[in-house]
Subunit: 301 residues, 2 copies
């Protein structure tokens, strides 16, 4: 592998060869004529022969220079084109990894607005409970449900992972749900759901001591909610995601009381990429767009 001459000097040569002028090359490269002169001298010493013939008011390529120039320009054209394209590739595709709950209950319905506002950005959403590692996987941003904000990443709270009991209208009727304590009579979709006990306590209902096992349904409320709609029991879910179902009557939220255990749905991405245009565009769209979710603490109407 033969060592190349200093690349800076090659770039200078390429520009000078195209312009046949040190001064104009310097302008293009954003440096002074003196610097170009220096770089050409470096390269001439490395190559071992003059690259230009210094004529009074102009320069000409020497035999050696003429031999080198076309190929060098070709190489630089390739590089310029390649990196120009990369900008399109990089800026033109936004890759989002989202927890399934958020993906299906909010993103799917709203992402169209982002695409409308940013038609030049293609969007790829991957819904997975898996916590992406930006170093290992190729995602630009992620939407995660968590309470621990990892260092090195930027975090924007989109929505608190609040929870409230919900069930089908039929069950409300069947079990005569009038006050929080009544819920204990309703079959639970997830038995011994810690969220339920936490919520009951908040509602002033004394509950049997719970196993207090680690637990999180964050990002996987879909099945829970689907079962509740089907009338199979009581589900603890995040109200904001089911405003539609409540509005349409498929689901009933019998009490305005809302529990919260500190978890939240966050938009996150590597600090280093904070200024990437597409990430900026997405952040500047989704944070205001979820504003409503954050402020409506009580029942969504």
């Amino acid at each position: 592998m033969s060592a190349l001459p200093p690349l800076t000097s090659i770039r200078a040569f390429e520009a000078v060869a195209r312009h046949l002028s040190f001064t104009r090359a310097a302008e293009e490269l954003g440096m002074t004529q003196a610097a170009v002169s220096y770089q050409i001298r470096i390269l001439e010493e490395r190559v071992g022969a003059p690259l230009f013939l210094r004529r009074p008011r102009q320069i000409a390529l020497s035999e050696t220079g003429a031999r080198l120039a076309p190929d060098v320009t070709k190489a630089f054209d390739t590089l310029r084109e390649t990196f120009a394209d990369s900008r399109g590739l990089v800026d033109g595709m936004l890759s989002i990894s989202s927890v399934p709950t958020f993906a299906s209950h909010w993103l799917a319905a709203n992402i169209g607005l982002f695409q409308l506002a940013n038609p030049e950005i293609a969007v790829r959403v991957e819904a997975s409970p898996h916590l992406v590692d930006f170093g290992t996987e190729e995602f630009d941003v992620a939407i995660r449900a968590t309470s621990r904000l990892q260092d090195g990443l930027v975090w924007h709270l989109l929505l608190k992972a609040e929870f409230a009991p919900m069930l089908s209208p039929r069950l409300v009727e069947q079990y005569q749900v009038r006050e929080p304590a009544d819920l204990l009579r309703v079959p639970q979709i997830t038995p011994d759901d810690p969220w339920l006990y936490a919520w009951l306590e908040l509602a002033g209902v004394s509950v049997p001591p719970t196993p207090d096992r680690p637990f999180s349904r964050l990002g996987a409320q879909n099945l829970e909610a689907a079962a509740a709609i089907a009338g199979r029991g009581l589900a603890m879910v995040t109200p904001a995601f089911y405003a539609d179902d409540v509005a349409s009557g498929r689901l009933v939220r019998p009490f305005d009381i809302t529990g919260w255990d500190g978890h939240g749905y966050y938009l996150t991405y590597p600090e280093a990429r904070r200024n990437s245009p597409k990430i900026k565009a997405f952040r500047d769209w989704i944070v205001p767009a979820t504003e409503g979710l954050r402020s409506s603490q009580g029942r969504s109407e």
Copy 2:
């Protein structure tokens, strides 16, 4: 003209992409792994996306990296090939500009030995009295007759531009040339030749005051000598160049006295190119090869 990312970082990327290893790329580039890591980081920030996926014991190209790598490698291959070839082009052809006298009387006869010793170097000799300007014309070295050693160039004395009277055997006979003063009776090829008067003075002959006009036959003794051989008169020439003619009897050098006015035949080339292999080779050949010309001060036998 879109500005390219730092070329150093592109080169690092190219090497890493080929090796799929920071460490091995660093070895190839002759730097440390830390430096490569730094360069890749730079480029990733510029491109706006990771170029490699950091997996436990190895790295993989990201989508972006994979898109860039082939073209970047192509560009660098072009550059490597181009500059590798240039070495051949540059080192393989030695361009000599020589004053005609030296070219025809010494170089023509001896350059074959140089080519024998350096078969990989093609030689082009241009005989011209014109003093080349290395900045404007494409010559590697020049052989000039001068007394003023210009700055910025390296000068090697090959031969002092001495002079002595010579004439054909017939004229020696005809004019009864026995001692220096006798030469005044012989027709001069160049009338009032300053070299003749200088030489006569040196030989102890008082001469009429000379016009003392600027004069130099340096590098154009050919015609002078040819006329002398043809018997048309007395010529002042550099003995070293006509040893053959004297030996063969075509020309007679009647006196051992040698004049010198400070001029010399020099090999010269730009200081900056002092280390060019072919120039080095030529210098290392011609300086010893002309050793004999310099040391034999008197008549050549």
